[in-house]
Amino acid sequence: MNLEELQQIAASVHADNEQFDFEVNVCQGTGCLSQHSDQIMAQLIKVVAEKGAKVHVRKTGCMGLCAAGPLVLVEPENQLLQHVGVQHAESVITHLGKEPEKELQCNLREHFDQQVHVVLENSGRIDPERIDEYIARDGYEGLVKALTEMRPVDVVQQITESGLRGRGGGGYPTGLKWGMVAKAVSETKYVICNGDEGDPGAFMDRSVLESDPQRVIEGMAIAAYAVGASKGYVYVRAEYPLAVSRLTASLREARRRGFLGNNICGTPFNFDIEIRLGAGAFVCGEETALIASIEGQRGTPRVRPPYPAASGLWGKPTLINNVETFANVPPILRKGGAWFAAIGKGKSKGTKVFALTGKIKNTGLVEVPMGMKLRDIVEGIGGGVPDGRTFKAVQTGGPSGGCIPAELLDIEVSYESLVQAGSMMGSGGMIVMDDTSCMVNVAKFFMEFCMTESCGKCIPCRAGTVQMHELLSKICEGRASMDDLDLLIDLCGTVKEASLCGLGQTAPNPVLSTLRYFKQEYMDHIQNKRCSAGVCTMTHEGVTA
């Protein structure tokens, strides 16, 4: 395969599409599928066949605005249709080229116009299981370019220049990581894609794997070439069956087209990928735990160093990046590191995909340039809080992150600014809360999560999260004293500083950040036995047998 052959494939796809007057893309992501978008698609195909219309009905991945699902996108008009039901199929087809029915029109300009799609550029626009459609949208150009025109060190250089940082949460510079693995001396090296998206309230990785799996495969192959690996693993949550099946099909397609296997693109480069299923353990998002899990063991993290870059899977140098990180790689190779570095602000380059959920109008998946104001995401793209309620906080970073209050809505979204605000970027969950959410209860919710997800290896996390959860329950039930609050703060300190891995070290964050911005709510629960949001039920201590 060379660039010319790629272009030929692309041309044939374009020629195929030319035969049609219209393309009707039907979202078949998890969100829309739960509203039977598969039946809608079948009905659309039926109507098209009956009418003999020159319309291509295409199954695609996620279109982002899950709140308005099931979604249908009509091309070339680029008209998005919302809340489409089976009963609308006839109308959708007959209105092609004309103005669609009023109730179906989705014209949320403020939602779409401020977004910049790099990772999601193909989501909702291609059939995720047809590799040629990916190729038709410049897919695999990056890999071919890397293999035929660049040395591994040049690839690393481009990534470094792009300023891309780990999208899994930590924000470690990707180029630096690649360089370390590339320099490690070993016959065998591995590339692992971390798709163990465990943050509750985050579904970016699921969506990318469902909507544009080839992009991740290409990113991994480029990485493997850059670091000198010949074997890769994608670790996906078992809770994502659709992502797994699309990825499986895509791996087969990639092998068929010769992007995986031996002598890729006629070069001596060999690389193949296997899928490994997670089995319901949040801690496996931690890289050493994930490695243990791929090795077939209990997913308990181990002390670093040595880092996986030096000693990872089966003791070999291993590159681990998150799904979204790999998904950013193909366009960087295609358009150059400098292009990517021009998007974003400061030390946070490129875009970030967020899963915008909770008490917000436009729930769904959004991709924005780094450095955008939080307010623009919540109020602009998200459309603000519904039902006339008041915004209270936005939670980012999942159980490792924190809650950002209204007065900080004008901060820019970057790795540094979010940490400064007591939260973190995390993998991209962004959960909006209104005045019906009790912040102490939210802290308790996250603590319960950390407690049940703690692997149990180190004492501060295993036993500390249990005690913190107990103290938070006491506060929520109106049984706590000020001494209990002091004890909670004290425990936060030890769990944060003494835990072995990131799960424990960040477990106190939701408590610390809510204490920082919503201390009054804690005091209200403790001193006045009152929950202003009306979430907590105060009970009195049972004293008898």
Partner: protein, 177 residues
Amino acid sequence: MSKLKVATVWLDGCSGCHMSFLDMDERLLELAEKIDIVYSPIVDRKDYPDEVDLALVEGAVASVDDEAKIKKIRAHTKFLIAMGDCAITGNVPSMRNPIGPQAILDRAYIENATLQQQIPTVLVPKLLTVVRPIHEFVKVDLHLPGCPPSANTFYTVLTALLAGETPDISALTRFGA
């Protein structure tokens, strides 16, 4: 100078701490020059005095009665010492905690009783669901672990306190000592 008013209290414990206290033997006489025992299972007085300078509390809080007592004691005591493991950790009385009070009552009064199998309710204080150390109910000024703390420990700690010094507890005793 007036003598220090000292109380010793017996909650849910085996009285071993009190025995050990008495094991100070002749040193008790020496202490008696500086302290008055104003309330104790080993003196006559039945009600807790209004003002006590120092109280040594043995035993865990296991019943509603214990709970009321410890709160009253705290209110009328300047310096409160948790004496021995039961007061500090729950110790042996707390071994029923995993199975709950009903199981323990059944075993004692029904399963192991040869006659009159019934659980007493009159004049017997109600048990708490869990036995807990006293510091979970009131502020404790000094913890003196041991099962029981030795007579030497008592002597060293009390003489240090009388001299206005802070004793190094861990150098003297530990849990289970």
